[in-house]
Symmetry: C2
Subunit: 352 residues, 2 copies
């Protein structure tokens, strides 16, 4: 049964999630105070609704990952309520960044639903104002950073990290857009990896971890480099799994019905299928991939099975998991291995 | 003749503009280098086109204002080629911020042309990708700041200033969007001022000046506060003038045909008209404002004249100019008065 992959077996505890959620009203209050100070009461009221609707949705894995990593990195005596709250604020900054990306992406893709509710731009009286709302979320994040972190040594590093990761993610989006009009015959594994790494892995995996490192006082550039390698590998694994489940997952488990084939997505399955296909099979992909007709979608799925992709995936999953474990064991710069291992077993939870 | 207001009589020198433009290729090169380092050659190539099409357009008043202010603030012996280049880079950061706002605003307003060429999202093969392109410009700006300014004392202040001004501008956009569906009978001067200040004045006037103050080494918070008051007053004046010329300007001078009446814009003319109108005149505004029919547009223009708005504007312009001069003379924190006066006479050039 391929519908529950290795990494999705462990989940974030309810307590952790509740503690994290308890900080959200403070975040909204901080932002409302800042906004009102600019003679913008009407905008502040509107923006509070924007935040409520968009930010505390989904599993909040990225935000909680920030907090869990921080807790793993610092000695118990440093786990004061104040420090934990700082880690939670950083976690909410990651969630704000994610909301900003999601709202913009949904406008660009003209999507209709997200996490079981209408996309923000599809809500009545919102429309393209969603673009500005996303920008407000992105930049309110820096007001939160300033309010709670500007007295700390790591403040500049935090700001620079958010700038860099935001830029990388927009570069990944750009690659994705450039690729989306391409024919399946032009998909390559190199392109696939570049899109996944930039569009998803940096902000979903490296960012929460690196924020926790900074808050915990790590300064060694080599510790960041080693962590980045591991977390980007996890991010790649996560996306391959997501692509696999889009086609072969059980919708009752994943909570969504995949449309990557219809959408002409440069998915791991399509890339590997093209690598393994003979001339006739390649022609089937060209004829049937990215089309709405159910018979064509079914033909692609059949071809994936003929090419043995489910077992290729199972092997990839196992190998990737083991490779990451090896890389974790090779780290040498004082980041506890347990910190990585916990993520390997926690974050590979279904989300998106 | 009201089509050339007081402040539009002086223009930026051709030399200044050419020197500023000469730095643009370096900016594109810096950004391309950064982008390629993330395995994003295709995105780097695309983004170079985005920058070329969108950033070095228009009069670049905000960028050049940054440079001119800096030159006015520092003693001659500090005007080294290196320092001037830093001021020019900061000026280009303002121009990048402006491009980011404009591209997004044109998508939200579904505009078709800008500065005599198609809006970026109307260019073939662009469409809603324009949203991501705008985000790339916004965040590439911080890569420029890091590369050229991270060794300076003022680095944190520069980043915080860009964060704050970006956030304020998105708040102004939000106010504008919330107001745009309102009936003309609900327009108020209070709302008008809040929209203008947040949406336009902060980033167009205060930002360039404050950047120059930081680069010149000013640290006195009171000097920034006094400057802010004066520059926001200039920004308000600028927008009132823009609104006036939209209706009463000579298209051969302004280079554009106004549509504020058709677009139901909360313009200075509409606000003042509603303040002065009797019951019948208010009804004319309610019936005719925000409508496409030429006869209705004409009726509004007639009403503006009946209410004496051209002479009200002339008086406002004179008074506003004098008030700003008085405030300049009252500043006391070491910012040379000439710095403000030069802007008063330079920047009130027609732009948009
Ligand atoms: Mg999407
Ligand atoms: Mg997309
Ligand atoms: Mg997917
Ligand atoms: Mg517009
Ligand atoms: Mg607009
Ligand atoms: Mg106008």
């Amino acid at each position: 049964n391929h519908s529950v992959p290795i990494a999705a077996r462990v989940t974030v505890s309810k307590d952790e999630s509740r503690d994290f959620m308890a900080v959200f009203p403070d975040l909204v209050r901080d932002i409302t105070t800042v906004t009102k100070a600019y003679n913008c009461s009407d905008a502040a009221k509107w923006f509070a609704q924007v935040l409520q609707y968009n930010v505390p949705r989904g599993k909040k894995n990225r935000g909680i990952l920030t907090v869990l990593t921080y807790k793993n990195l610092v000695p118990t005596q440093d786990l004061t309520p104040e420090n934990i709250k700082l880690a939670q604020y950083l976690g909410w900054c990651v969630e704000m960044l994610q909301s900003f990306f999601i709202i913009s992406d949904d406008v660009m893709d003209n999507s209709t639903t997200r996490r079981g509710q209408p996309c923000w731009h599809k809500v009545e009286n919102v429309g393209l104002t969603a673009i500005n709302d996303a920008l407000m979320i992105e930049n309110a994040m820096y007001a939160i950073l300033k309010k709670h972190f500007s007295h700390l040594d790591c403040y500049v590093a935090l700001m620079e990290l958010f700038h860099e990761i935001t830029y990388i993610t927009t570069c990944g989006q750009s690659l994705d857009q450039l690729n989306s009009n391409r024919c399946v015959s032009e998909f390559t594994m190199e392109n696939y990896k570049a899109i996944v790494e930039n569009k998803t892995a940096y902000y979903s995996f490296y960012l929460p971890f690196a924020l926790a490192l900074h808050l915990a006082g790590y300064k060694d550039a080599e510790a960041f480099r080693q962590s980045k390698t591991i977390l980007l590998e996890m991010g790649n694994f996560f996306q391959v799994q997501d692509d696999f489940l889009d086609c072969f997952g059980n919708p009752e488990v994943t909570g969504k019905i995949g449309t990557d084939i219809q959408d002409n997505k440069c998915s791991w399955l399509a890339v590997v299928a093209m690598q393994r296909a003979n001339v006739e099979q390649k022609q089937i992909m060209v004829d049937c991939y990215g089309k709405e007709e159910p018979a064509k979608v079914e033909r692609v799925k059949e071809l994936y099975k003929e090419l043995g992709l489910p077992s290729t995936y199972a092997i990839f999953e196992e190998e990737s998991y083991n490779m990451i474990k090896t890389h974790i064991q090779q780290t040498s710069r004082g980041v506890p291995h347990q910190t990585f291992l916990q993520i390997l077993n926690k974050i590979y939870q279904r989300d998106s």
